[in-house]
């Protein structure tokens, strides 16, 4: 259906190296997260007090923390939390934003009310909003996901609404009207397909923001419970012994940076790939 995902995928990948690299790194991390029990050499919960605060070596690739847990295994399991939060938040906020944005774009009174609510939400820094919501419902992956989603939905809604409004004025939409197509069919046949590309790009940015926000929340102790390994948790605990054992902070931070960076590169690459200048040439 879409001209951008047609034959010549190899050629496409060659041209958009950024997107390919970003996607590749992410895929590897996702696989690692799913296969954590197989990859992590040691159970992260195992406490080995005699091996605590060890530097990275052949056995403990990323070293150990204050209570002797293998940082590498912790990091691999931590990827689960990050990827889960990232994916779920991205999915829910894109879907909600799509529905809300469509409503706002088509029904003017809904637009007025909804946009004021969204503006209000966007005025509150997402971290603070998330903290407040977590404080109400207690720390757990579910409340984190809900909190971050609420913070991200307004941006997506705004994007969709803007696109819908500009699409509505397009000549091919008017052509569909004169061809006798009813409004619901115009929505699903003409409008939504033209929204998919910017939504996909936005999804990647939402994913990155969600991962970052979760890490920050866990870092300040308002995120996932301390028993569940999360990059934020690990970094937070490593903070106190940073002088002695910097590897506890460094490695998870590095991995976090790489993930966010690859998501952003993927998003930029996707945006370029969908740019009509590239798809325009047959």
């Amino acid at each position: 259906m879409s001209a951008g995902v047609s034959a010549g995928t190899l050629q496409l990948m060659q041209r958009h190296r950024g997107a390919t690299i970003g996607a590749g790194v992410l895929a590897m991390m996702a696989l690692a997260a799913i296969a954590a029990p197989l990859i992590a050499p040691l159970d992260p919960q195992v406490i080995a007090p005699f091996d605590r605060l060890q530097d990275p070596d052949g056995r403990y690739w990323f070293g150990t923390d204050q209570i002797g847990r293998d940082v590498f295994s912790l990091t691999v399991y931590g990827a689960r939390v990050s990827m889960t939060v990232g994916c779920v938040v991205a999915l829910i906020s894109i879907f909600s934003g799509l529905v809300l944005g469509l409503l706002a774009g088509f029904i003017s009174w809904v637009d007025g009310v909804l946009m004021r609510v969204m503006d209000g939400l966007m005025a509150i820094p997402s971290i603070l909003l998330a903290i407040a919501l977590v404080a109400i419902s207690g720390p757990s992956i579910r409340s984190i996901v809900i909190a971050i989603t609420i913070a991200e939905v307004p941006r997506v809604t705004r994007l969709v609404r803007g696109q819908v409004i500009s699409l509505r004025g397009q000549l091919f939409i008017e052509a569909a009207t004169t061809a006798g197509t009813s409004v619901p069919v115009i929505l699903y046949r003409h409008i939504v397909p033209n929204l998919l590309a910017p939504l996909l790009v936005q999804a990647s940015y939402v994913f990155a923001a969600a991962v970052m926000t979760e890490a920050v929340l866990s870092f300040i102790g308002a995120g996932v419970p301390p028993e569940t390994p999360s990059w934020g948790n690990i970094i937070s605990e490593g903070r106190t012994v940073f002088q002695l054992a910097p590897h506890i902070v460094l490695f998870p931070s590095l991995v976090l940076s790489v993930m966010v960076l690859s998501v952003n590169i993927l998003g930029d690459g996707l945006r370029d790939a969908f740019d009509p200048r590239f798809t325009g040439r047959g």
Partner: protein
């Protein structure tokens, strides 16, 4: 015999947006008087050319007839039924009789759908054709407009401007309409392609007994394709009549000026002394002149022209002009 399309007293205004302060103060919004009382009629199997310069409102007239804009006043009778205020669900089945070809062939096609799907859309809405039968009909339409069957599954960006316009025409004739509104259908095309498309339109009109409302600013093309012509200026029709009469003996000074401004190829037929060059600029459509709207630029204007709206004078059957002193 009732005409196929009868428009009477069509009015359309576009309100200027007001700043918040003006809105609070209660200042009334000014409005662009895009169409101020337009009446025209088109018979079956006839082409009415609607000409005028930019800002005269001719495109708006077309869009109102298509109900892409909601008229503020007036009636639009299609086959006797007034569609000007009809709600969308009741209007939709009537759209089968009234199709359109737009000026910009690229913008009127969804870039993410194949051209076959674009042409199939009205057929899907108005006929029972589906599946292989639908595909077959689309293929036949493609061939009728000079394209190939195997191009059905391509995307708009793979075609040239002339080809895209042919696709737009295929889409318009699919549901076998009675009337097609053509809004500057050839202005964006190269001259040699224009000829192909104009010929195609004329052939299709003969074959399917179509009527056309041909909206354009190019007088030569309008003269070639139309049986009757209407000339618009600043939201109003200033002259209407059979093509030959209007082009050979224009009765309204604006029509005469328009005709004399167009370049003539043959030097022997050029008469420099006859060229009327209009002075001044087009007045703002938000604030049209009083009386006859053309009086500010008319070489023959007199006192009454600025105070009184001119009457419609019929100089010969079917040939009318809105002027106090028709030529």
């Amino acid at each position: 015999m009732t005409a196929l399309l009868e428009v009477a007293g069509l009015v359309k205004r576009f309100a200027h947006s007001r700043s918040l302060i003006d809105r609070v103060r209660g200042k009334p919004a000014g409005a662009v008087q895009a169409v101020s009382g337009v009446s025209l009629s088109i018979a079956a199997n006839e082409t009415l050319g609607l000409v005028g310069e930019s800002g005269c409102g001719k495109s708006t007239v077309g869009r109102c007839i298509l109900r892409l804009e909601q008229p503020d006043a007036g009636t639009i009778r299609l086959g006797g039924e007034d569609i000007s205020q009809l709600a969308e669900p009741r209007l939709r089945p009537l759209r089968r009789k009234l199709q359109v070809v737009f000026q910009d062939p690229f913008a009127s096609l969804n870039p993410r759908r194949t051209v076959g799907e674009a042409v199939a859309e009205p057929l899907r809405n108005f006929t029972d054709l589906r599946g292989a039968a639908l595909r077959d009909e689309v293929a036949r339409l493609f061939e009728r407009v000079g394209l190939r069957r195997d191009q059905i599954d391509r995307f708009p960006h793979e075609f040239s401007g002339g080809q895209r316009q042919r696709i737009g025409i295929a889409r318009a004739i699919g549901p076998r309409p009675d009337l097609i509104i053509l809004d500057e259908p050839v202005s964006a095309l190269d001259v040699s392609i224009q000829a192909q498309v104009v010929n195609l339109l004329m052939d299709l009109q003969d074959e399917f007994r179509l009527s056309y409302l041909f909206i354009a600013h190019d007088l030569a093309v309008v003269r070639h394709i139309s049986q009757r012509v209407a000339v618009m200026y600043l939201g109003q029709i200033v002259e209407t009549g059979p093509r030959d009469a209007v082009f050979s003996h224009p009765r309204h000074p604006y029509t005469a000026a328009l005709l004399s401004a167009a370049p003539i190829l043959d030097p022997a037929k050029r008469n420099a002394a006859e060229r009327i060059i209009l002075t001044g600029d087009l007045p703002s459509p938000s604030n049209p002149p009083s009386g006859c709207r053309f009086h500010t630029r008319c070489p023959y204007a007199q006192a009454i022209c600025s105070t009184t709206v001119p009457p419609t004078v019929e100089s010969s059957p079917g040939h009318i002009a809105a002027c106090h002193f028709p030529l």
